[in-house]
Symmetry: C2
Subunit: 325 residues, 2 copies
């Protein structure tokens, strides 16, 4: 074995039973982009989305870490336009599109990435909509003390069944609040979300449906969440976060999962998500190729020789997952 | 804290005393490119280098993980030419130059990387020289059972004070043999190398001198080993390996160090090397800026805000080093 990634995980039912764990399921972790389905809830629940005539496209993009592809950028631009705002009103910075198709498309057009290409631009546009809806200044909407961020904090606390004071607050990669909470509470929030959707709660149903029925908008070309949700045909709700955090749920069974690769490496995160879903018989058989490759990925050297493999060392839930390169 | 990298390390004197350790100093690890100073020893000791008229430039490049910059490529090409061989005789594959200056230089010339740009091309040219010198076929010189690789294995075993049977052998990123041995033995080998150099052993002196007096050839523009050896003015011999392995030595004091970031992340490797050297008062004061930045590196988000830091959590040798992002 050459390198090892340690993975912490929690598997929780909608009624808060921890049914499986790896290493420390109570580890407090920055939730990063996995919080997006809850950050859009204040706007959605209060009718703000409908008032704007926004439907599942806008909702999926608000929950996305998108690839900065033309389709994503177009929706984000339209959201801003409908608000009478423009790209410069987004508080997120510009970065190279996460999807290589998005990067190629920009390069071929001879253009540089803008804030619209930021993987969080949909979330930011929805936050601007929330500021407008509640008649608070849009300027500074990203700041921790701004009502928009405070609404997000309360929504996260409610879904994770934690008092607001138990949630750590920092500044995320895109400038808005980021929330720290135990893995088990992350898993619980996702379990409750799919359970609420199944029980007929309209906002929950709309979030779950928007994400699972339009996986491309939630990620993009060759993006992991997109491939996985496409493969699982609506049975899995799945959201990646930066630095090795992932939260997902079995839509039909009301079970939530959260994991964190201790060192933050994405190369370990994807096999870990797949191994956990496999342990719950939640993957299609056969698994489509790009995902199957991730479960046991060959490492090739500069000569093209297969010289190793990245794989889950032990997929028994309850044990720890280890990865070999 | 968001992410944590665990670092295993051993600090060993030339007479094999383990003077400091972090986590498991006996952890067997693939030595990767840190073995290069010993892989060139069979050629050097037997006079093969001198017979070709090769001097410290060629020797430094044989020990390098170079940046594929024009200066590196020129020396590698000259080595092959003197052997009557050409680029296609190198068994390593082509890859994008490791130094961004090397990549830019290629891009501006409208050229694609060749095997000469492979960071190991100097090592490979020296291996071809060894095959020629010993009148064995150059074709297949990279294979584990080829006499050239067997010579390398014996050299590594000798310097690491291990029986050949105790050393694991695999295939490296560039196609030649890669060796697995405990961290403490890696540190010992480097301690013995600088000690032998100080005691007047000519091959050892030439390796240490070639590497420490021409740090640019061992790495390249903005490459860590180059910056560090330049900053330490000949007092530190330092060699990076892939997947978070690093071996280095205090030239004057005969002390060797080896460390492995358990998960293989380079972002943790550099601060760990610096923290270890700082613990031994082996860093210049003030430390030049690019290195000082690595000791406590600010993490900026897409807005350019400092939202975190990558730093050594606990620099007390004997404890473990942890990193926060």
């Amino acid at each position: 074995m050459e390198s090892r990634h340690r993975v912490h995980a929690a598997v929780v039912t909608a009624d808060a039973v921890l049914v499986d764990a790896s290493r420390d399921p109570e580890l407090p972790v920055w939730w990063r982009s996995c919080a997006k389905p809850f950050q859009v809830m204040p706007l959605l629940r209060s009718g703000g989305l409908d008032a704007l005539g926004w439907e599942s496209d806008e909702l999926a993009l608000a929950c996305a870490s998108h690839g900065g592809e033309p389709e994503h950028v177009r929706i984000a631009a339209r959201m801003l336009e409908q608000l009478g705002l423009e790209e410069g009103d987004l508080a997120c910075g510009a970065h190279e599109p996460l999807a290589s198709r998005g990067a190629r498309s920009l390069r071929e057009a001879g253009q540089r990435p803008t804030r619209l290409h930021n993987n969080c631009s949909g979330k930011h546009a929805a936050m601007l909509a929330r500021a407008r809806q509640t008649s608070v200044p849009t300027v500074g909407y990203q700041l921790v003390d701004h009502p928009v961020q405070q609404d997000c904090l309360r929504a996260v606390a409610e879904w994770a069944a934690l008092p607001v004071e138990r949630i750590g607050v920092g500044v995320d990669g895109c400038g808005v609040s980021v929330f720290a909470l135990p893995l088990a509470n992350m898993a619980l929030a996702y379990a409750r979300l799919v359970q609420a959707a199944a029980s007929g709660d309209a906002p929950s149903r709309r979030v779950v449906s928007a994400m699972t029925s339009q996986p491309f908008l939630v990620g993009g070309t060759e993006r992991f969440d997109t491939l996985l949700m496409e493969a699982c045909g609506g049975n899995v709700l799945c959201k990646i976060g930066a630095e090795g955090v992932h939260t997902f749920a079995l839509v039909d069974r009301g079970i939530g999962f959260a994991l964190k690769v201790e060192d933050g490496a994405a190369r370990a995160q994807y096999p870990a998500v797949l191994a956990l879903l496999a342990a719950y018989d939640a993957l299609p058989d056969p698994l489509p190729e790009p995902l199957r490759d991730l479960l046991q990925r060959s490492v090739r050297n500069t000569r093209g020789e297969a010289v190793g493999v990245i794989a889950v060392g032990d997929a028994d839930v309850g044990d720890s997952w280890e990865f070999t390169a």
